[in-house]
Structures are given as structure tokens and as C-alpha cells.
């Protein structure tokens, strides 16, 4: 096993052990902290497919995160009020249904955004994804039906067949299982033909086109899949907080997702996991010391960008290796 693989296993076990350690210490609050880590990691795993493997610097993934969140909130509120959603389609308070709807809705949005923005590259791509995410943000603010600026509460956490999701550790395990499933998916994709084409297009777009693979279609597919994963994370986030609001779609959220990946290590399979653990810990520890924790986060981030490009995994395991 390489050092990176060992470190990945350590990260996965650490995150899994965290809520049980918290329960053992009689600090149930830390369970929700671990759940937050798992959900943010899942959102960033989605982004990592586009950004890390595909080199597509999307500054708009908060839109997919938020759409997933609203999918959960809207379905749950219709189910709770027993009102049909559209043409007698009922709402739902079952997580599997909600995840599918969240993934489809976020994927559709990613398809629309990607179809336009992937025609461009570089800074254009960054600015356009940012702008489109902002469009969804303003839409959520000014659309009065689901709370507008005030957001939408979820009265009871949505259910999962056979499990009691109100138990914090159970909900953590659901999130953790989804995170592991997404990592497994990305691991297979990374080493597959699709992954080869996607990573090659990041390194040299002209070459990929010259051998007869059209980068646009590869990237659009990756972008949609990436949005879908982040959308499911958004649905979980809504269930964690039992609340959705436009702030899930704000550009700070997009920025934070990128920051997670960079703190952990860009293009590394477990980069988002390392980044999410680090980010939530920093937020919690610094936030406990000073109200100005964002100032220190800014300074740390600046330091990482200027002096430690590989992130945490780069520090531990050195440069990435390709076969």
C-alpha cells in the first residue's frame, strides 16, 4: 500500500470513530459535528470530480448543494401538509426518494449551467459558474412560495425505511455510508476510460481533441455527475439542520467547497474528506477562541495557496502518482 492509501484508511476510520467516541465521552453535540464533516465531504467529493479530476474550477457548486437542500425541504413540506406537489404528485418524507429527486434536480441544473459554461474555459468558466449560481440564489430569495429569504423549515427529519433517523448516530451512519459510496464511485471512475479521458482533457485539451475524443461531452457528463453528488449532499445537509435557506446557495458556500478540496489536496480521492475534517475542526476550534475565526481561516488559506499547494494529503503522502 502506498502512503496515500494508508492515510486514506486512517481518515475514513477517524471519521467513523468520531461520533462513537463522542457518545462514549457523553458529548452528543460532537456527533452532529462529525455528520457535518461527512456531508461537507460528500459535497466536496462531488466538486472534486469536476475540479480535481477535470480541472473545471466551478465556483457555482453551491447552486447544486442548495437545489438538493430545497428538494428535501419542498418534498418534506408537501408530505407534511399532505398537499400534492404538482398534478397530484405527492411530496415525500423518505430519504431515498428525496435523494433521487435531489440528484435529478441538481443534475438537470448542472446540465443547463454546464452546457453554456463549458463552451468557455479558464476565467470565463469561473465567472460564469459563479454568475449562474448567483442566479439560483436570487431566485430562491425572491420566490415567495417556499419561504423566500427566510428559508424553509423541515418539521421532522425525513425517514429511512427500517431506521430511526432521529437518532443522531444513525443519521451520521447514513451520511457516512453515502460518502463512502461516492468515494467508491469516484475511485472507479478515476481509473476508468472515462476518468482517463477526463484527466487527459485537464492536462491537454488540444491533444485529447486531436486523438478524436471530444472534451466537451466528457466534461459535461462529469459536471452533471458532479452536480448530482453535491445535490445529494445538499439534501442531507437540509436534513441535518432541518432547515434550508438561500444561504446554502450563496457564493461563500461555493468558495468553501473549493477551500475544502484545496485544504485536503486537489485531485486526491480523499482530499475532500481530509479537507472537510480539517475545515470543520478549524471552524469549531477557532470559533471557540475568537469570533473572528474567518480572519484566521483567510490567513491559513492564503498560506496554503502560496506555500503548500498539495494540501494535507500532499504534506503526508507527497506528489500524486499516475499509472
Amino acid at each position: 500500500m502506498t502512503r496515500e492509501t494508508i492515510f486514506n484508511v486512517v481518515l475514513a476510520l477517524f471519521l467513523l470513530a468520531l461520533p462513537f467516541a463522542a457518545m462514549a465521552m457523553g458529548e452528543p453535540f460532537y456527533v452532529s459535528l462529525a455528520t457535518r464533516m461527512a456531508i461537507l465531504a460528500l459535497a466536496a467529493v462531488g466538486l472534486n470530480l469536476a475540479l480535481g479530476f477535470g480541472g473545471l474550477v466551478s465556483f457555482g457548486h453551491a447552486a447544486f448543494f442548495g437545489i438538493g437542500g430545497y428538494a428535501a425541504g419542498i418534498l418534506a413540506s408537501h408530505a407534511f401538509n399532505a398537499e400534492p406537489l404538482l398534478f397530484a404528485i405527492p411530496g415525500s418524507d423518505q430519504m431515498p426518494v428525496i435523494w433521487i429527486v435531489a440528484a435529478l434536480a441538481a443534475g438537470f441544473a448542472a446540465f443547463l449551467i454546464g452546457a453554456v459554461s463549458l463552451r468557455t474555459s479558464g476565467v470565463y468558466f469561473i465567472m460564469i459558474t459563479l454568475a449562474f449560481a448567483q442566479m439560483f440564489y436570487y431566485f430562491a430569495i425572491s420566490w415567495p412560495a417556499y419561504g423566500g429569504e427566510d428559508g424553509l423549515s423541515i418539521t421532522m427529519r425525513n425517514g429511512f425505511p427500517g431506521l430511526n433517523t432521529a437518532v443522531p448516530v444513525t443519521f451520521f451512519l447514513i451520511c457516512y455510508a453515502l460518502l463512502m459510496a461516492a468515494l467508491l464511485l469516484l475511485w472507479r471512475i478515476r481509473d476508468s476510460r472515462f476518468g482517463a479521458a477526463l484527466q487527459a482533457a485537464r492536462q491537454n485539451e488540444v491533444r485529447v481533441a486531436a486523438i478524436g475524443i471530444a472534451p466537451y461531452r466528457i466534461r459535461l457528463f462529469a459536471f452533471v455527475l458532479s452536480g448530482m453528488i453535491t445535490g445529494v449532499a445538499g439534501a442531507l445537509f437540509a436534513d441535518l439542520n432541518r432547515f434550508v435557506s438561500p444561504s446554502m446557495m450563496s457564493w461563500h458556500m461555493s468558495g468553501e467547497l473549493i477551500v475544502l478540496i484545496i485544504l485536503g489536496g486537489a485531485g486526491r480521492l480523499f482530499g475532500p474528506v481530509a479537507g472537510a475534517i480539517l475545515f470543520v475542526l478549524l471552524e469549531f476550534l477557532l470559533g471557540g477562541i475568537t469570533e473572528r475565526w474567518q480572519l484566521f481561516l483567510g490567513l491559513i488559506l492564503l498560506g496554503v495557496v502560496l506555500f503548500a499547494r498539495g494540501g494535507l494529503i500532499g504534506l503526508v503522502a507527497g506528489k500524486p502518482r499516475h499509472g
Partner: protein, 306 residues
């Protein structure tokens, strides 16, 4: 009445557009010359607004405040350029985005630290108070007209600066060939600092002027920054002319859309529903315009040659 309202809103759109131009001009200039995407440009806008509000409150003079906004934003820009931005020129865009995102966090928290969490207020100077009677029975605030005037003057000034002066020649040379201006013996580091400070000063000016129309608070620069991105995407990155046209287009489209879309919808689906849906659609309008323009011209309206 309807005509008067239309004219008034059109002027509001132009005023908004001109203010966006001040932001977008700096961004596009910095991108054109240094190849840098600067998310922290909105923070410089905020610095300008805070400097103006604070100095105006301390001295009682809006004009001293305005001067302070220019100085503070330019100085902040120069300092940031020399300490951080300079290290980012050769880096990829992801690094630039992250580092300037970090700068936003630092600027925002530092401002909150110094000025607290409550917004500051800035009054319109007495000289520019009141309204002007325009043809068509419109009474329009003099201050907003003044903003339009300042914006147009800056646009003209930038045009003259870039086409007629030595500094402008160097800027143009820097846009077309970075190595050449080094060979011409221009001190490139100083040039970059000057360009960055100039862009910062324009952002600070915009922040100060808008500060008298809205409250001055942390985070005020970010919505404007994103609109400025829309502007330069529409106009073509690196093009001042594109920034000008794009800014007016965005300003007018957004303002008129918010007025007209709900009215048009009201005629179709009734006023009760129309207010909400119309507002929601109007908030998306400029992004839809951006998507349409990109579909036809992926590099914007006035794309600089690659």
C-alpha cells in the same frame, strides 16, 4: 405618469450601469494586463465606502470622504498587490481565485473588527441634494445624475489615458505582449502595482458614491462584484469598451426588468401571482441575457484577440 416612471427607471438603470462600469473597468484592466482574476475587488469597493463614510462623519465633509475613499482604496490595492497579488501572476486561475477569496475573508473580518457589525450611513452632500426637473415631468435626484456624470467622465478619462498617454501605451503593450514591455525597459513591477491601484481606486470611488444611496456594511461589495463579472463576461474580458457596453446593458436590463416583468405578467396571470413570480424572474433576467450572449459569442461582445 407611466412615461415619467419609465424615464426615471431608465435613468436608475444607467446610474446602476455606470457604477458597475467603475467596478468592471478595474477588473477587466487587471485581467487584461496581468492575467489575474481578482475576487477581492469587491473588498476594495467596501474599503472605499467605509473610508468615505468614516471620514465624512469625522470631518463633516462628503468631499473629504470621497478623496479619502480614493486614497484608501488605492493604498489598500497597492499594499495587497505588493504583498500577495504579485505572487499570483504566474499561477493558475484556481490559485488566484483561492488566494483572493482568502483576501475577502480577511478584509471582511478586519473591517468588522474595526468598525463593528452595524452599518454606517453616509449622507448625500448638500450641494447635490434635491431633484432636477427633466423634460417629461420627471423629477430626478441630482445626486444620481451626478453619479452618471462621474461615471461617464471616468469612462472618457480611461479612454484618453489608455489611448493617449505613455502609461496607456505601456498598459496596451502589457496586454498584447508581456515580455515585450520588459524588453522596452519598462519597470514591470511598478506598472503592475500602478494598474492594480488604479483599478482599486475606481472600485473605491464606486463604493463611496453608492455608500450615500445605501448603507455602508461588510459584504456590500460581493453582489456588485458578481454583477461586474457578468458585465465583463458579456463585454469580453480585457476590453474597457466591452465593460462599458456590458455595464450599461446589465444595469438597464436589471432595472427595467424589475419594473416591467411583473407588469407584463400581471396582464397574463393576474396581479396577485405576478408580483412574486415577476420578481423572481426579474432577478434571473441578466443571467439569462448573459447565457444568450454567450451562446452566440462565447468570448463576449468585444473579445480581445487571443
Amino acid at each position: 405618469m407611466q412615461t415619467a416612471l419609465l424615464i426615471e427607471q431608465l435613468l436608475n438603470g444607467i446610474q446602476f450601469g455606470v457604477m458597475l462600469f467603475l467596478m468592471a473597468a478595474g477588473l477587466t484592466l487587471i485581467f487584461g494586463v496581468m492575467g489575474l482574476i481578482n475576487l477581492a475587488h469587491g473588498s476594495l469597493y467596501m474599503v472605499g465606502a467605509f473610508a468615505c463614510a468614516w471620514v465624512a462623519a469625522a470631518t463633516g465633509s462628503f468631499w473629504l470622504g470621497l478623496l479619502a475613499s480614493l486614497v484608501a482604496a488605492a493604498a489598500a490595492g497597492a499594499i495587497v498587490e505588493m504583498t500577495v497579488i504579485r505572487r499570483l501572476y504566474g499561477r493558475d486561475h484556481l490559485d488566484q481565485v483561492l488566494a483572493t477569496f482568502a483576501l475577502i475573508l480577511i478584509f471582511s473580518e478586519a473591517t468588522r473588527w474595526v468598525f463593528g457589525s452595524f452599518p454606517l450611513y453616509l449622507n448625500i452632500p448638500p450641494l447635490l441634494g434635491g431633484a432636477v426637473a427633466l423634460p417629461g415631468g420627471v423629477h430626478y435626484p441630482l445626486y444620481r445624475l451626478a453619479i452618471i456624470g462621474v461615471g461617464l467622465a471616468v469612462a472618457l478619462g480611461l479612454y484618453l489615458l489608455i489611448s493617449r498617454t505613455r502609461l496607456g501605451m505601456r498598459i496596451r503593450a502589457g496586454e498584447s505582449d508581456r515580455e515585450m514591455i520588459g524588453a522596452l525597459g519598462v519597470d514591470i513591477r511598478t506598472l503592475y502595482t500602478i494598474v492594480f491601484a488604479l483599478g482599486a481606486a475606481l472600485a473605491g470611488l464606486a463604493g463611496a458614491m453608492v455608500g450615500a444611496l445605501q448603507s455602508v456594511q461588510v459584504g456590500m461589495g460581493e453582489p456588485v462584484l458578481i454583477l461586474a463579472f457578468v458585465v465583463i463576461v458579456i463585454g469580453g474580458i480585457g476590453s474597457i469598451k466591452g465593460a462599458f457596453v456590458g455595464a450599461l446593458l446589465v444595469g438597464i436590463t436589471d432595472t427595467m426588468g424589475r419594473l416591467l416583468l411583473p407588469q407584463m405578467l400581471a396582464a397574463i396571470i393576474g396581479p396577485a401571482q405576478a408580483a412574486g413570480i415577476g420578481a423572481a424572474l426579474a432577478s434571473m433576467l441578466i443571467y439569462i441575457v448573459m447565457a444568450l450572449i454567450l451562446a452566440v459569442r462565447p468570448k463576449g461582445l468585444f473579445a480581445a484577440q487571443a
